[in-house]
Symmetry: none
Subunit: 211 residues, 2 copies
């Protein structure tokens, strides 16, 4: 699906984006023709077919302006955040893979970049249960994570404890060969684990709760 695009195809795609940014609707075939200096509508039609085959857009037949961009549909200033799964004690966090991201059943939520601080590839997990209460995270909350395997000290991370088969959200401190996981709630005791027994899956960049 990721065949490379000809310059003309890239130009068409760029023009569609520009056009939709300016208007609230996609261009017609002839808009594209004029905007990209193409001599015939059939050329536009042909390249749109290619772009559709390559998965860059979707066309609705017989419908004027029936073009829908598929590159995440991401408008400027927004990112599409996939809600990969739920986390609960005893269930490992899945690694975001391309197949998983293409799953059409995947819940998706569009968030302004202000909430993700411009981070790339942010994904979300829905919290089940009350095991994260010590981090002010309640049942049903959505945790936004940035994929990070080697966090810095002091980062709030989602960590998979291999021995306990448990996932927790804690502050991460690497001290020699052991990892200290410090709850956000100072009333609770930190956990110290050998470094090889901890698999960090992501750094927490935000929490969203709706009621």
């Amino acid at each position: 699906m990721k065949g490379k695009l000809s310059p003309r195809q890239q130009g068409i795609l760029a023009f569609i984006r520009r056009f939709m940014d300016e208007h609230q609707f996609p261009p017609t075939v002839r808009d594209i023709q004029a905007g990209c200096d193409i001599s015939s509508t059939s050329v536009v039609d042909y390249n749109l077919q290619v772009l559709q085959r390559e998965g860059n857009l979707r066309r609705l037949p017989e419908v004027s302006r029936g073009i829908e961009l598929l590159d995440g549909g991401a408008r400027r200033g927004f990112v599409n955040v996939p809600v990969l799964a739920s986390i609960a004690a005893g269930v490992p966090i899945p690694v975001p893979s391309q197949e998983a991201l293409d799953d059409p059943n995947l819940e998706n939520i569009e968030l302004p970049t202000s909430l993700t601080q411009g981070k790339e590839n942010v994904f979300a997990l829905r919290v089940k249960g009350t095991s994260m209460i010590d981090a002010f995270i309640a049942d049903g909350d959505l945790v936004l994570l940035e994929p990070v395997v080697h966090p810095d000290n002091g980062d709030m991370v989602a960590a998979w404890l291999l021995d306990d088969e448990e996932v927790t959200l804690k502050r991460f401190y690497l001290e020699g060969d052991t990892v200290r996981l410090q709850p956000a709630n100072s009333a609770m005791e930190p956990i110290s684990v050998p470094a090889e027994k901890v698999a960090v899956r992501g750094r927490v960049v935000g929490v969203v709760r709706t009621m």
Copy 2:
């Protein structure tokens, strides 16, 4: 510019919104005709002219699907949420007024309607201090509130305690002449206050935290 709209005009506006939520482009005159059970395209045309005159949308002449919605420049599926002020113990919550909303210095954050559940006039307050810890709300969190003065029992509300000159986020229960404010954290004791000593300013619809 705020003449009242006929039911048909409201229906057309709602249909356009629904259509643009579903597709990435506006409907044609005939789409509207079918979607709103209108017998003639001329009626659609007429009402679109009215909607344009009233400032609800803009039409591009001679352009198919040349309809642009003008509701506040907000893209479909998103709302502009003003961050009115910070809340902390001892500081009253301001009432969102028109002048306040027009303040150019106002911080604004664009959120998807999925986070506000389509509620209107949602505003946000930034939490200072740790007085809301019992509701899993930490220092620096953004609380999304829907303006409500008379909440239902069980709602999580922002309440201004007149005697204590204090603001808290608690679950609201009206029991006769007194109001019971139940912390979200069951380990903490509820507060009971005479109803006239409590001023509810809003119902909590969401919490957002960035780190």
